[in-house]
């Protein structure tokens, strides 16, 4: 780079001025070459959109990974939330429960910071907490909890009084594990061990990627942006 002649621009300017007719001949060739290169790059990009190596803390699933199967839950405002709501947006999905004081709020806080860094892509992304504690996480509880982190975030779960079978079906289809653990001191304060995975669903409603540990706001924002731009 350092041995590039400093007068190169001048030379080409002179050339352009002096040999306008030659330029007319060369221009289509240059355009054709660029178009060819562009086409090759684009083709490359289409067949191999992005690799996990290009991402900081995200592992991509194979292309055309199967779509999220049909499910029907409810958001924190009582609106139905099904697989249809995954269409047309990038969904960042995390599983947790509102009585979880360490992993869940830490993760949601990081996702909030990542969301704030998305800039123009914020409108393309929805961040969703799936409650794996239908017994305690009522609609109102989910609403008060999630809106503390960001008013745009969603907290979906079973409708009040749900028995957990709908959550079980959805998590099973996504290979997400959770289980209730008894609390010997106080039965009502049972714990829920749960998968710490953060899943990315693409606008076609297919599982696209998984964010891996350690989760960091900057890395998540960059990876999401890269996936959106390569899609």
């Amino acid at each position: 780079m350092s041995n590039t002649p400093p007068n190169e621009n001048h030379a080409s300017t002179d050339e352009q001025a002096g040999k306008a007719s030659a330029k007319f001949l060369i221009a289509p060739v240059i355009i054709a070459v660029f178009a060819l290169i562009g086409g090759i790059l684009l083709q490359d990009k289409l067949s191999q959109p992005l690799t996990s190596d290009q991402l900081k803390n995200t592992t991509l699933y194979p292309a055309d990974f199967r779509p999220v199967p049909a499910f029907e839950l409810q958001d924190q405002n009582g609106q139905s939330f099904s697989q249809t709501q995954l269409q047309g947006k990038w969904s960042v999905i995390f599983f947790g429960f509102t009585n979880c004081p360490d992993v869940c709020p830490t993760t949601l806080n990081i996702l909030q910071q990542a969301y704030e860094r998305l800039g123009e892509h914020q409108k393309d992304v929805q961040v969703i907490l799936v409650s794996v504690d239908p017994q305690r996480d009522s609609q109102q509880q989910r609403k008060d909890y999630i809106e503390y982190f960001h008013p745009d975030f969603l907290a979906i779960g079973e409708e009040d009084g749900g028995q957990g079978d709908k959550i079980k079906a959805l998590t099973k289809s996504m290979y997400i594990h959770y289980e209730t653990v008894a609390n010997k001191e106080s039965p009502e304060d049972y714990l829920v061990d749960h998968s710490a995975a953060i899943l990315i669903i693409n606008p076609a409603g297919r599982r696209h990627a998984q964010i891996t540990q350690p989760i960091l706001p900057g890395a998540i924002a960059q990876d999401i942006t890269a996936m959106i731009e390569a899609y």
Partner: protein, 150 residues
Amino acid sequence: MQKVKNLLLLSLLALSFSSHAGLDIHNAIVPESPPTAKVLTAYMQLHNNADKLQTVKSISSPQFQRVEIHRTAIADGIARMKPVEHIRIAPGESAELAEGGMHLMMYRPDARYTEGDCVELILHFADNSTQSLRASVKKRTGMVDHSQHH
């Protein structure tokens, strides 16, 4: 300046409440939580300056119905919470309660605690002595920034 004053005041309180010689407690923080959170946590560093082993067998708080010590362990992608029976700290050693590690489970606060509030905690040692400290409530965003700068 007000912050510095608060910190000084807190340190003084922590000292004056202390009836146990050994543990130095630093950065005791209760992350601010959503309004309806029924379980809060606390993080801190504990250092044993004494020349004998010290064992914290439980922790309580007048502002919470019950406090448990837990450890988050993420294995095979699953976050599991394990109750911690006691915290044993050898002379000269430290223990840390931190995000994604050992932490407190503080059940049912008596009020909503927001940034700037304090939570009083009482450490109960195996030799039946106690030590009180005050943890300050801070927003998580501030905490994360803090940890990234160090």
